[in-house]
């Protein structure tokens, strides 16, 4: 699985970082950085939660 962020939607709410800090980091420049673009399968529940809770619905998962 691959983490996909639509940066046109992302407004750096940092909710994803709160849910899955292993994958997402909003830095002091107020931009989101994806730390693990292809996270281990064990991260899927957290990633699903980040997708669901993202206030701008900017995150999706690609299965490739």
């Amino acid at each position: 699985m691959r983490v996909v962020v639509d940066f046109d939607r992302c407004q750096s709410n940092a909710v994803c970082m709160d849910v899955a800090p292993e994958i997402f980091e909003v830095r002091d420049d107020n931009l989101l950085y994806v730390l693990a673009e292809k996270p281990a399968e064990v991260m899927r529940p957290k990633l699903d939660e980040a997708v669901r809770r993202c206030p701008t619905q900017a995150i999706s998962i690609a299965e490739d």
């Binding site: 407004q11 750096s12 709410n13 940092a14 002091d28 107020n30 669901r52 809770r53």
Partner: protein, 407 residues
């Protein structure tokens, strides 16, 4: 876990964010019975926050507010009754009534009918006066904005503030009228309201606080807003943003307890067998804060929709409290405003990072020695760290110590 014998048909009233979250959670948790959703608007659920931001500014087309694609809906397997309202509920018969008089039986019911904007006396039926809740209202207002009107916004809450920001970003003349001495003064300590006011003054909004609206000028179409002192603010378009009322009219004869929303217990159960409520319409005791609340924000719709769905599927003794840390955000101009938790005007407030003058800061709110809320202007990384502290009922002293360390 799910038992299709216990709940063969679950009906969700409200094709909303909360309703969609409930539907998805039901399927994720293994409910394989029939799912039926009823929505007053003639369209599938869409995302409302962009309506007062990107769509109104004209940078997004309305399609971008769609929450799911067709493939996702196909997987979900829901029968949608769109453009239809529920008009009644009979909890003993486990039936709701639709607006054509047709009954619809349920084994489980999720009430997610949301809220409706409040209008002001004298503004109803006058052309050029708008509220902003639906996509249709947004597009009508956007079309008005394209004619370069003078805009008057009544109410400096978050909707009013975002509409004002969108209008200024389109170069329009904007006046904002607020009854309270500062924006958000009912919810926030005065200096936070002042910070919000400063943003609008920075961007050329004519912000007038402490004024009352006495009426509207114009025959057929609005030409201005008349204030309590007789002054008339001339305007081609007026946007009324003075709050919402929960959509509970259809439940009045149901016997459910209604009090500024559907009264739920701490697990989102609405007091009748198999009935739960979620989102803007639900009022419930949040035991994390020891407070009964109704929350009108996006994140709560998602989280409570899910919690209500799980409540329906829970067996005896399995119900869990819904006790989240409320969260909302607002994008105005280049500022990102974020708030976690609760606050009231009398809370102890400390700015722990940045300053109001920089328009970048983190402020913490304390009550009875406990951290109850955190507000940030354009400091998302720092703000989010406080969610776990709020969830852990951290003392105000420890939260301030954390802030001293985190910078």
């Amino acid at each position: 876990m799910a038992s299709s014998a216990r709940s063969r048909r679950i009906v969700v009233v409200g094709a909303s964010l909360a309703g969609l979250s409930a539907l998805e959670t039901l399927r994720q948790d293994g409910f394989d019975g029939e799912l039926v959703a009823v929505g007053a608007e003639p369209v599938l659920p869409y995302d409302r926050p962009p309506l007062s931001k990107q769509v109104l500014q004209g940078t997004w087309e309305p399609e971008k507010t769609e929450l799911r694609d067709q493939a996702q809906y196909d997987l979900l397997g829901v029968t949608w009754h769109l453009g239809r309202r529920a008009t009644g509920l009979d909890p003993a018969a486990r039936t709701i009534t639709l607006d054509d008089g047709e009954p619809l039986a349920y084994d489980g019911l999720v009430i997610a009918t949301g809220a409706t904007p409040r209008w002001l006396p004298g503004s109803v039926g006058l052309d050029g006066v708008y509220v902003l809740r639906t996509l249709d209202e947004c597009l009508a207002l956007r079309a008005e904005f394209e004619r370069a009107p003078r805009v008057c916004v009544v109410g400096a809450g978050f909707i009013g503030a975002e509409v004002a920001a969108a209008a200024r970003q389109r170069g329009l003349d904007v006046t904002v009228l607020e009854a309270l001495p500062a924006p958000l003064a009912r919810a926030f300590p005065a200096e936070m309201g002042a910070a919000c006011a400063a943003l609008h003054l920075d961007h050329g909004v004519d912000l007038r606080c402490g004024v009352t609206v006495a009426g509207f000028e114009g025959e057929g179409r609005v030409t201005g807003v008349r204030l309590g002192d007789g002054t008339v603010v001339e305007a081609d378009v007026v946007v009324v943003g003075v709050g919402v009322v929960p959509e509970t009219g259809w439940l009045e004869s149901s016997g459910l307890a209604l009090d500024n929303g559907v009264v739920c217990d701490s697990t989102c159960a609405a007091g009748a067998p198999g009935v739960v409520a979620a989102g803007d319409v639900a009022r419930w005791p949040n035991n994390l804060f020891g407070e009964t609340m109704r929350v009108e924000h996006w994140s709560n719709a998602v989280e409570q929709g899910a919690a209500a769905a799980k409540r329906l599927l829970a067996g005896p003794g399995e119900a869990v409290d819904f006790s989240p840390v409320p969260y909302f955000w607002s994008d105005q101009y280049e500022a990102k405003i974020q708030f976690l938790g609760r606050c009231c005007p009398t809370d102890d407030v400390r700015i722990v990072n940045g300053s109001v003058d920089e328009r970048r800061f983190v402020a913490l709110f304390g009550r009875d020695g406990r951290l109850v809320g955190a507000l940030a202007f354009s400091r998302p990384r720092l703000l989010m760290a406080y969610r776990k502290l709020l969830a852990a009922k951290t003392s105000f002293e420890d939260a301030l110590a954390h802030a001293a360390q985190a910078g």
